[in-house]
C-alpha cells in the first residue's frame, strides 16, 4: 500500500475508496474482523463494569448518601447530597475533605470532592442498565465520547480511586489498562448486553 502511495500512482481518495470497498465486502460476508471488535468491546465492558462497581467508584455514585470503605457502609458522620452535590448544612464535603488524602485522619481527598451527579447514579442498576446510562450522550453535553475518556483520565476524583490512601483497596486494574479498556469499548461500538 505504502509503496503504491509513494509512487504517487494512487491518490489518498483512491485508497480510501478501496478500503471502503474491502470493508463492505467484509461486512457482506460477516468477516470475523468486524465482530472481533464488537466482542472485544463487550469483553472490555465486562471488565469496565467491575471497576465501576468497585467501592472506590460506587461509594460516591449513590443517590443521597455516600458509602464508606470496602465494607460499603453508610458514611459516618451522616451526610447527604445537598442542593449542589456538596453536602448540606454543617456537613459540606469540603468541611472535612481536602484536595488530597489525609493519612493521619484516614480521610480520602481529591480536588472537587463530592458525590457524583444524580444523573450518574449507578447503585441498583444492572450491567445492561449501567451500560446504557454510561453511554448516554446527553450526560456529556454533546462532547461524547471525548468527555467520557476525559472523565476517566483527567477528573481528580476518578484518578483518586487508584491512590485512595491506606485501608482502602485501590482499583485492581492499572489506570493505563483501564483507559485502554475504555478505548477498546468505545472503538468497538460501546457494546452492551441486552439483559
Amino acid at each position: 500500500m505504502t509503496g503504491i502511495l509513494r509512487s504517487g500512482r494512487l491518490s489518498a481518495s483512491r485508497v480510501f475508496a478501496i478500503l471502503v470497498a474491502i470493508q463492505s465486502l467484509l461486512i457482506a460476508f460477516g468477516c470475523p474482523a468486524e465482530s472481533t471488535a464488537e466482542s472485544e468491546s463487550l469483553a472490555a465492558w465486562g471488565q469496565i463494569v467491575q471497576v465501576l462497581r468497585h467501592p472506590r467508584c460506587l461509594n460516591c455514585h449513590q443517590l443521597e448518601q455516600p458509602l464508606q470503605g470496602d465494607s460499603r457502609r453508610v458514611h459516618i458522620p451522616p451526610v447527604v447530597r445537598g442542593p449542589d452535590n456538596l453536602g448540606a448544612g454543617t456537613m459540606r464535603c469540603y468541611n472535612c475533605h481536602n484536595d488530597r488524602n489525609n493519612e493521619m485522619a484516614r480521610v480520602p481527598g481529591a480536588p472537587n470532592w463530592s458525590l457524583a451527579p444524580a444523573s450518574m447514579l449507578w447503585e441498583g442498576k444492572s450491567d445492561a442498565e449501567l451500560c446504557e446510562l454510561i453511554k448516554t450522550p446527553a450526560l456529556y453535553h454533546d462532547r461524547f465520547p471525548d468527555a467520557l475518556l476525559q472523565h476517566f483520565t483527567e477528573d481528580h476524583v476518578v484518578l483518586w480511586a487508584w491512590h485512595p490512601g491506606a485501608g482502602r483497596a485501590p482499583i485492581p486494574v492499572s489506570h493505563d489498562d483501564f483507559v485502554g479498556l475504555v478505548k477498546i469499548w468505545v472503538a468497538g461500538g460501546l457494546a452492551c448486553l441486552n439483559s
Binding site: Q68, G69, R73, I76, P78, M104
Partner: protein, 773 residues
C-alpha cells in the same frame, strides 16, 4: 445463720468464705484499733495548708487571699457536678452567695478517703442490719480513713462529702461568730450574719476574711448538724461555675496541659492482649523525633508534637512477641459461660443470696437465658497523661478517678516513694469508671522517665483508647422462676457467669490483693437483695475469666443484671398474663412492708400514673409502637423507667423516656435531672449499638465507625420526675443507666411480641418467640 452471710446450705466454699471474712474482720479489728489509736480521726485533725494571707478551717475550707472561700474536693470533676455541689454546700453552710465559693481539688498528700464506695461493695444485704455487718463496716471505715484512699466512683461523691463539708461549715461559722463576738464585745446571739459579713447591733461589721486571724486562734468545736433540708441553694440548685469555661473552650482537661518544653508521645499497645514488644526500631531520624520507648506491652515514640510522634510511630519497625498472648475470640467466652452454667459442680462459684428453699417450690416454670457483650467506656477525651520525672520526684497531670491510686501506682512503676509524686488534676473529659484504672498515668510516667526533666504528654489515639480499655464484662445468665397459682414467682434461681471484676481491679492496684476469697457482690448488683417479694430465691455467680481485661463501667454490675432481671420479670408477667406494671405492683405487694419495697412501690405508682395520663402515641414512621417499664435500685436510689418505642422494619426508635427518681433527698434537683438523663443516654447507647468483639485475642472495634454510639438524631426526649421519699441521700451519677435497656427491650416486646434477651438490642438476633419452658 442470718441472711447477711452466704449460703445456708453449708457448701464448702461458702463456709470457708465466712471463716476467712471473720478472720479478716477479727484481724482487722486488732489492726484497726492500733492504727486508729495512732491516727485517730485523721481527716478530722487535718488542716488544709494555708499560705500567706490565707486561713484554713479543718480539712475542707479555706479563706483565700482574694477573700473567696475555697472548698477542698477529694473527688474529680468528670461532669457529675461534684465541684459545683461542694461549692453549693459550702455557700449554703457559710451563708454566702455561690459566686463567693470556689471548689478546688483536695491536696493529694492528705488523708481524704472514700469509704462509702468500698463499703457499698461489701457482700452484705443493704436492707438487713446486724452486728457482724456493723463491725465489718466500722473496721473498714476506720482503716480507710486511716490510710486515706480517695476515689471517685460508685455514685458516692455527694454522699461522701456532704456531711463532712456541712460539719466543717458549721464549725467555721461557729469560730467566726465567736471571734466576732469577742471583737465586738457582744454575745454571739446578738450578731447578724449577712452577705459574708458579721455585724454587731451598733453597726460594727467585719468580713470573714477580716475575722480570720482571730478566728484561727480559737479552738474548733464540733457543732451538731441538723438534717439536710431545703435552703437558699440546697433543694433548689445553683448555676455550675464550670459551665461557662466549658462552653467557651477555656476549661482545661488533662490533654490540654501545655508545659514549657513539653514533648509528646504517641503510644501503641500490643494488638493482641498479652503480647509484648519484640523488635522495635525507629526509622525516622529527625531532630523532632526524640526517641522510642519500649514498655511491658506497648511502644511509644516521643517527639516535639503529637502529630510528628504519630507519623514516626506509623513508620517504625515494630513486631510483637505473642508467646503469652491470648488467642481467644468472643465466641469462646460465651461457650465458656455456657459450659460453666451447665456444670453443676463448677468450682469458682459463690452463692450471694439464698432465701428459703428454691428446690421445694412447685409450679409452672419460666426459664430464660440472657447475655450481654463486653463494652468500652469511650470517654470523649481519650486516655492521656502528662508526666515530668526527675531523680527526686514526679508530677503527673491527668484526669483520673483516684489521686491516691495515681500516686501509688506511679511511685511503684518508677521506683520513687508516694510522697515524691505530685498529682495535678484538671477536669475529666469523661470518666464512667475508665479513669479509675490509672494505667495511662503509669505509662506516661514510664515514658517520661526516659526524658527526665522534660514534661512528656502521652496521648492515646481513639483506636488505642477503645482497644486497650478495661471493659464492662460480657456475661450470660440462666434465670428460672416457678409461678404459683396466683401467677407470682414462689421460687427464683438466678445464675450468672461473669468474671470477678472487683478482684481483677484490685489485682491491678495491689500486687498482693487476694483473688477469689470473697464473692464479688458487684457482679450480681441489680439481681441480688431485690425489693420484690420472692420468698424462695438463690442468686449465684460463677466466676469465669478468660483473661480479657475487665473493669468498672457506669453502674457496674447493674448494667448487666438489671437488664437480665427486669426482662425476666416481664417474661413472668407475660406467662402469668398480667400487665407488666400491675405485675410488678403485685410482686412489691408480696414483699410486704420494708423501706425498699415501699420506695420501689412509690416509684412504680408514678410510672402507672404517667402511663394513664400520657398514653402511648401512635406510630410516626409506619412501624409498631410499644411501651415498656423497668425498676431498679442502684446505689441506694430507686429509679423507674418507661420507654416508648416504635419498631419499623429492623430499626428500634426510642421516642420518649419517662424516669422517676427517688434518691432520698436532692441537694441540686436540676443537676439530678441532668445526671439521670446522662446516665439513661449512656445506657441507651449501649443497649442499641455497642459491643466489643474479640478475635484471636485482638479487639475488633476501634473508633466511632465500628463502635457506634448514640447521637442527637436518635436520642429520645427524656422526662425526669423526682419523687423523693426522704430517705438518706442516695447515689445519682449512675442510677439512670441500668433500667433503660430492659425498659426498651420490654417495649419492643409490647410492640412486636418478640422477646430480646441479648444486648445490644437487635431484631436480627432475637431468639424466636415461643412459650416459656
Amino acid at each position: 445463720m442470718t441472711s447477711e452471710t452466704t449460703s445456708s446450705r453449708g457448701s464448702g466454699i461458702a463456709r470457708r468464705t465466712f471463716l476467712v471474712a471473720a478472720g479478716l474482720i477479727g484481724g482487722g479489728l486488732f489492726v484497726g484499733a492500733g492504727v486508729t489509736a495512732a491516727r485517730l480521726a485523721t481527716i478530722d485533725r487535718y488542716r488544709l495548708p494555708a499560705g500567706e494571707g490565707e486561713t484554713s478551717f479543718g480539712a475542707w475550707l479555706k479563706i483565700a487571699r482574694d477573700g473567696r472561700i475555697e472548698v477542698a474536693v477529694p473527688h474529680q470533676e468528670m461532669g457529675q457536678g461534684i465541684y459545683a455541689l461542694a461549692a453549693l454546700l459550702a455557700a449554703e453552710g457559710l451563708r454566702l452567695p455561690i459566686e463567693a465559693v470556689r471548689p478546688v481539688q483536695a491536696p493529694t498528700n492528705a488523708p481524704f478517703a472514700n469509704p462509702t464506695m468500698l463499703l457499698d461493695g461489701l457482700p452484705f444485704d443493704e436492707h438487713v442490719h446486724g452486728p457482724l455487718k456493723d463491725v465489718a463496716i466500722w473496721t473498714l471505715d476506720e482503716l480507710l480513713r486511716a490510710f486515706g484512699l480517695s476515689a471517685t466512683g460508685g455514685s458516692t461523691s455527694t454522699r461522701n462529702i456532704a456531711e463532712p463539708v456541712r460539719a466543717c461549715c458549721a464549725t467555721m461559722m461557729d469560730i467566726l461568730t465567736r471571734a466576732a463576738a469577742e471583737r465586738f464585745g457582744v454575745e454571739t446571739d446578738r450578731l447578724k450574719i449577712s452577705a459574708g459579713r458579721i455585724s454587731a447591733p451598733n453597726g460594727e461589721t467585719a468580713s470573714y476574711a477580716e475575722l480570720a486571724p482571730e478566728a484561727a486562734k480559737l479552738s474548733p468545736r464540733a457543732i451538731p448538724l441538723s438534717r439536710l433540708t431545703a435552703g437558699t441553694y440546697v433543694g433548689k440548685g445553683a448555676a455550675r461555675a464550670d459551665v461557662p469555661p466549658k462552653t467557651e473552650g477555656g476549661a482545661p482537661y488533662g490533654i490540654d496541659v501545655r508545659d514549657k518544653g513539653q514533648l509528646y508521645a504517641a503510644i501503641r499497645h500490643s494488638p493482641r492482649i498479652g503480647g509484648t514488644p519484640a523488635k522495635v526500631e525507629l526509622r525516622q531520624q529527625t531532630p523532632d523525633i526524640r526517641g522510642i520507648v519500649t514498655g511491658n506491652d506497648y511502644v511509644a515514640v516521643v517527639a516535639t508534637s503529637y502529630c510528628k510522634a504519630v507519623g514516626a510511630l506509623e513508620q517504625a519497625d515494630i513486631s510483637w512477641n505473642d508467646d503469652y498472648a491470648l488467642n481467644i475470640s468472643t465466641k469462646d467466652v460465651f461457650a465458656a459461660y455456657r459450659a460453666a452454667l451447665d456444670d453443676a459442680g463448677y468450682k469458682s462459684h459463690f452463692v450471694l443470696e439464698h432465701q428459703g428453699d428454691v428446690v421445694a417450690s412447685r409450679g409452672r416454670i419460666v426459664k430464660a437465658t440472657y447475655q450481654a457483650p463486653y463494652l468500652a467506656h469511650v470517654t470523649m477525651e481519650p486516655m492521656n497523661a502528662t508526666a515530668l520525672v526527675t531523680d527526686k520526684g514526679a508530677t503527673i497531670w491527668a484526669g483520673h478517678q483516684s489521686s491516691d491510686l495515681v500516686k501509688y501506682r506511679v511511685a511503684h512503676a518508677i521506683g520513687l516513694s508516694c510522697d515524691a509524686i505530685r498529682v495535678v488534676t484538671p477536669f475529666l473529659g469523661g470518666g464512667f469508671g475508665r479513669r479509675a484504672d490509672v494505667d495511662y498515668a503509669v505509662k506516661a510516667a514510664e515514658i517520661a522517665y526516659h526524658f527526665k526533666g522534660t514534661p512528656v504528654q502521652t496521648i492515646w489515639s481513639r483506636a488505642e483508647d477503645i482497644r486497650n480499655d478495661y471493659y464492662r464484662p460480657a456475661a450470660m445468665a440462666d434465670v428460672s422462676g416457678t409461678l404459683d397459682d396466683t401467677g407470682l414467682p414462689s421460687g427464683l434461681r438466678y445464675r450468672i457467669a461473669v468474671p470477678p471484676v472487683t478482684d481483677r481491679f484490685f489485682g491491678r492496684v495491689f500486687a498482693y490483693a487476694p483473688q477469689g476469697w470473697l464473692p464479688d457482690r458487684s457482679t450480681v448488683d441489680g439481681a441480688v437483695f431485690s425489693f420484690y417479694g420472692i420468698k424462695n430465691r438463690i442468686i449465684e455467680n460463677l466466676e469465669v475469666d478468660l483473661g480479657i481485661p475487665v473493669g468498672f463501667w457506669r453502674s457496674v454490675g447493674h448494667s448487666l443484671n438489671n437488664f437480665f432481671f427486669e426482662t425476666f420479670v416481664d417474661e413472668l408477667a407475660s406467662a402469668a398474663a398480667v400487665e407488666p406494671i400491675e405485675y410488678r405492683a403485685r410482686l412489691l405487694g408480696a414483699a410486704g412492708e420494708g423501706q425498699a419495697s415501699t420506695r420501689a412501690a412509690n416509684v412504680l405508682a408514678k410510672l402507672a400514673k404517667r402511663n394513664l395520663e400520657q398514653p402511648l402515641a401512635g406510630p410516626e414512621f409506619g412501624g409498631k409502637t410499644g411501651r415498656g417499664v423497668a425498676l431498679s435500685e442502684c446505689f441506694h436510689s430507686f429509679v423507674g423507667q418507661m420507654a416508648d418505642v416504635e419498631v419499623a422494619g429492623e430499626r428500634i426508635r426510642v421516642k420518649q423516656v419517662f424516669a422517676v427518681v427517688d434518691c432520698g433527698f436532692c441537694i441540686d434537683p436540676p443537676n439530678v435531672v441532668a445526671q439521670v438523663r446522662s446516665a439513661i443516654n449512656y445506657g441507651l447507647s449501649a443497649a442499641l449499638y455497642e459491643r466489643i468483639d474479640i478475635e484471636n485475642g485482638k479487639i475488633v472495634q476501634e473508633n466511632f465507625d465500628t463502635y457506634p454510639v448514640l447521637t442527637l438524631a436518635d436520642a429520645p426526649e427524656i422526662v425526669v420526675e423526682i419523687a423523693n421519699s426522704g430517705a438518706d441521700i442516695g447515689g445519682v451519677g449512675e442510677i439512670g443507666t441500668p433500667g433503660i435497656a430492659p425498659a426498651v427491650g420490654n417495649a419492643v416486646f409490647a410492640a412486636t411480641g418478640r422477646r430480646l434477651r441479648s444486648l445490644p438490642l437487635g431484631l436480627k438476633t432475637t431468639i424466636a418467640p415461643g412459650s416459656p419452658v
